[in-house]
């Protein structure tokens, strides 16, 4: 049966190196939860602690109300999809998928029925008698998937399952996984370093960096309201503009953006603050205007549905601006002098320590 997963103050050390420090997560029953971060952030380490392949140095792990810290890996009732699929090379597709059911002493007739259903769900029933060496990467991926969910585990773990597929197949498998997970309602923990994949597939995401959780939220939250500059820069592209918060009045900050002196910008904030700050704006949140930060277009890239501009501001900083082709007919060429502006209700504001200020 599917279950909720609670992790309290998880710690992992390798010698003096702390791979994971004090991570706490609560993943709801049936939720699709993603651990996202650059390599070395501890996401795979955490996943393998849940699976039971890494020892737990501190903290408590629960499936529902059952503490699993001391439950050996083979008794945790987890389905796992490995990065390289880990298909048993000496067994057929069928035997691979039936393996976990046999371990559970499921009656023969039921094994046959469930294996067939699982293979049907991932659309490889005709390949049931094949050996893994006769399968393509995408087909092996489906076997790995079927083998993991056929046992109806309490939790499904996926360790970068799509990283070995080519770009097109990756997008295709992504939606198959997502739809399957919805349909079966299995609590799923998914590890990836690909932010686009994470945004597309997850109910919620935990962004990790150097063993710490930086932010937990829905894909839209994380994209629109990053909790710190790291998340803003890791999820999508962000331009960081230095600025000065002069004062906060009635929950609104008067912000002085360098290059836009004399044009006070008002941004809704969550607390009182005065001093240096950073304004974070996505390329699509910036636009060309009559007034704003003056700069020169240095490079124009036509990408079909939008045009990407590289603009050098007077401070010397280079920023990226995207303009959708459906919104404009005008193309700015390199060398052209422009002014850049933004919508103050959409950008993010961080204080000197990287704590979020904007609401």
């Amino acid at each position: 049966m599917s279950n909720e997963v609670i992790i309290q103050n998880a710690v992992k050390r390798y010698g003096d190196f702390t791979a994971l420090s004090d991570v706490s997560l609560k993943i709801a029953k049936g939720e699709f939860f993603t651990l996202l971060g650059p390599s070395g952030c501890g996401k795979t380490t955490l996943l393998r602690m849940i699976a039971g392949f890494n020892s737990i140095e501190g903290g408590d792990f629960f499936f529902g109300d059952k503490r699993i810290n001391d439950v050996p890996a083979h008794k945790r009732d987890i389905g796992m999809v490995f990065q390289n699929y880990a298909i048993f090379p000496h067994m057929t597709v069928e035997e691979n998928v039936a393996y976990g059911l046999k371990a559970r002493k499921t009656p023969r007739a039921e094994i046959d029925k469930r294996v067939k259903e699982a293979l049907e769900l991932v659309q490889i029933l005709p390949l049931a008698k094949r050996k893994p060496s006769e399968l393509s990467g995408g087909q092996q991926q489906r076997v790995a998937l079927a083998r993991a969910f056929v046992i109806e585990p309490s939790v499904l773990l996926m360790d970068e399952p799509l990283s070995n597929l080519d770009a097109k197949l990756r997008v295709q498998m992504r939606s198959i996984i997502k739809k399957l997970q919805r349909r079966l309602g299995i609590t799923t923990i998914y590890v990836t370093h690909d932010q686009e994949e994470a945004l597309a597939i997850s109910d919620r995401i935990a962004v990790m960096k150097e063993g710490h959780v930086m932010q937990i939220g829905t894909p839209r939250d994380i994209y629109a309201k990053p909790a710190n500059p790291f998340v803003a820069g890791f999820i999508g592209v962000s331009n960081f503009l230095p600025c000065q918060v002069e004062k906060v009045k009635d929950g609104r900050a008067m912000v002085n953006v360098s290059g836009m002196e004399g044009q006070k910008v008002k941004i809704d904030v969550n607390r009182d603050y005065a001093g240096k700050a950073t304004l974070s704006a996505r390329p699509e949140q910036l636009f060309f205007a009559k007034e704003g930060m003056p700069g020169v277009v240095t490079f124009t890239t036509f990408l079909g549905d939008f045009i990407e501009y590289e603009v050098q501001l007077e401070s010397g900083q280079s920023i990226t601006i995207n303009e959708y082709t459906k919104d404009t007919t005008e193309v700015h060429e390199a060398g052209e002098k422009v002014h850049i502006h933004f919508d103050p209700t959409r950008v993010s504001l961080f204080d000197e320590n990287g704590e979020v200020l904007s609401r």
Binding site: E57, N69, H74, K75, F82, A86
Partner: protein
């Protein structure tokens, strides 16, 4: 709260396996060698702890000359084998040599054939009364002698060049062709390309092959014993010191053993320090292409390979022919028949039985230990695994005669008396031949992703059961191909058997040696044919099972 994991020793299956393996290694490797070491610093002529034996060794020409001779023979063999091996490897990997795959198999076969049979066969051809020698003298020519230093080097080179070939061709096949193309593109001529790019990149592999040649020729006993005729090298001296009926001197033999092992360890240290560090890892996207030659050019390029292989395999053919020739005691040919086989079956049947019986028992243990030890070395890394690794590979570098002496001095008195039993023969086989299986098994396991095992555990099968149903099952090809090599070297084993055998536990290899010294060519030939056939059939099985991808080195 959760307990900390570190420092907690898990009392699981692997814990007990490690203890068992370490205990066995201590008993059959550490203890015998320790006994040799302690014996080497005593003497029957001086009281108490003394370096008398070593002083005598380095002051008496009779002793130190054998060391110099060993070094001369081994270095000459190494250089010649390197020249032959590198040349053949280059031609075989880069040109469309006719019959390439068969040649490769034949080269491996010539390496796996029992070394002393080569020596014996060359005596039949070029020795006193040799076939070729007589043929040449009948037309007024003097045949070169096969006895002495040059004969030993000649036989060693033909037998051992495959080591250099196998290491070098392996490396040459893994050079990405873009490397040489880049040199060509930068304007290098063909020969200078080989000299500045190809050779330096494969140099570590060439050196590794050379070291194998050096250590094997240093340890070999049969060839110099048969061909030496007064040109005494170290292993022969050890045997003489220990076995000579006039004065058995275990102390001097022990000291000599220590000196041989020291030489081997120096070579091994050189390998660890220089060769292993200089190894280049390459990602081969495009393996090198072979150049297509045509007509006479193609034949001439391959001709040297054919000549070398003809010489290397000639002994096997000669031996098989000899086995059908019946001779009188004075050497006069009586007829072509199977009488030699009848003779050995009636007189030496127990030797044949012993050879297969000992080797089979040894192989069962080697396979079981091979699987377990390979797994510990690859998946249970740590201090214990490192100790096991070093100890397991130690017999790889010590000559069989030294191990034989070690086992004798260790187990010829209570509490454990094994001398003269079948057990001591089997133990020496297991200890000496286990490295082949462990190397092959662990190399195979290294390429196996651990996530396959984790997938099984994750699906609810306990680690123990996973090991037996998934891991061991998947390791089988690697373990079995190593085990066949262990098996082949077991049946052909001479240098430790000749130290350890008793009347009841003699083997084919020992009998061949004795028949040759009695000038009984026919029966020796029949015995050698049995070994050769077993070797060839075993190798063919390996080639079939591994689809030609057997790793000898």
């Amino acid at each position: 709260m959760s307990r900390p994991f570190r420092g907690k020793v898990k009392m699981d299956f692997w814990f007990f396996t490690k203890i068992l393996v370490i205990a066995a290694l201590c008993l059959f490797i550490v203890y015998p060698f320790y006994t040799i070491l302690t014996k080497s610093i005593f003497s029957s002529k001086v009281d108490g702890v003394t370096l008398y034996n070593f002083q005598r060794f380095f002051s008496k020409p009779y002793y130190y000359r054998s060391l110099l001779r060993s070094l001369v023979v081994c270095s000459s063999t190494m250089v010649l084998a390197a020249v032959l091996g590198v040349f053949i490897a280059y031609v075989m990997t880069r040109y469309n040599v006719p019959g390439k795959n068969i040649l490769h198999v034949l080269i491996i076969m010539s390496l796996m054939s029992p070394p002393f049979i080569g020596a014996y066969s060359w005596i039949v051809l070029l020795g006193r009364n040799g076939l070729l020698a007589r043929l040449m003298s009948s037309i007024g020519l003097t045949a070169p002698t096969i006895y002495g230093r040059n004969g030993i080097i000649f036989v060693f080179t033909l037998h051992l060049f495959p080591y250099v070939y196998l290491y070098t061709s392996g490396a040459m096949n893994s050079i990405d062709s873009s490397l040489e193309e880049a040199a060509e593109n930068l304007g290098m001529s063909k020969l200078r390309r080989i000299w500045t790019i190809t050779i330096p990149v494969v140099l570590p592999s060439i050196l590794a092959g050379c070291i194998m040649v050096f250590m094997t020729s240093l340890a070999d006993f049969g060839t110099p014993m048969l061909l030496g005729e007064g040109y005494t090298v170290l292993p022969v001296l050890v045997y003489n010191e220990y076995m000579s009926e006039s004065a058995v001197d275990p102390y001097m033999a022990s000291s000599l053993s220590v000196i041989i092992v020291a030489c081997s360890l120096v070579m091994l240290g050189f390998q660890k320090l220089v060769v292993d560090k200089k190894n280049y890892t390459m990602s081969t996207l495009r393996p090198p292409q072979e150049t297509k030659l045509h007509g006479v050019k193609r034949f001439l390029t391959a001709l040297p390979i054919y000549i070398v292989l003809f010489l290397a395999l000639l002994p096997q053919v000669v031996v098989i022919c000899q086995s059908f020739v019946e001779r009188s005691f004075s050497g006069v040919v009586q007829g072509i028949n199977l009488n030699n086989y009848r003779t050995i079956l009636s007189r030496l049947g127990s030797n044949i039985f012993n050879t297969y019986y000992f080797s089979l028992v040894a192989i069962v243990f080697i396979v079981i230990f091979g699987i377990l030890v390979s797994y510990i070395l690859v998946r249970k890394k740590g201090k214990v695994a490192n100790v096991i690794d070093t100890l397991i590979m130690f017999p790889y570098v010590i000559p069989g005669s030294v191990l034989g002496i070690g086992l004798i001095v260790a187990f010829n008195k209570p509490p454990i008396v094994l001398v003269g039993t079948a057990a001591i023969m089997i133990i020496s086989y297991i200890v000496r031949k286990l490295p082949y299986t462990v190397r092959s098994g662990s190399a195979f396991l290294y390429q196996m992703d651990p996530s396959v095992e984790e997938a099984s555990i994750n699906l609810g099968v306990s680690p123990m059961k996973t090991f037996f149903t998934v891991t061991a099952r998947m390791m089988m090809p690697g373990v079995m191909s190593g085990a066949v090599l262990s098996w082949i070297t077991c049946i052909n084993e001479l240098s430790s058997s000749i130290m350890l055998y008793s009347g009841k536990t003699s083997t084919i290899a020992v009998a061949i040696y004795q028949e040759v010294t009695r000038m009984s060519d026919g029966t020796a030939g029949a015995l050698a044919t049995i070994l050769t056939l077993t070797t060839v059939i075993s190798l063919l099985i390996v080639f079939r099972v591994t689809k030609g991808k057997v790793k000898i080195v």
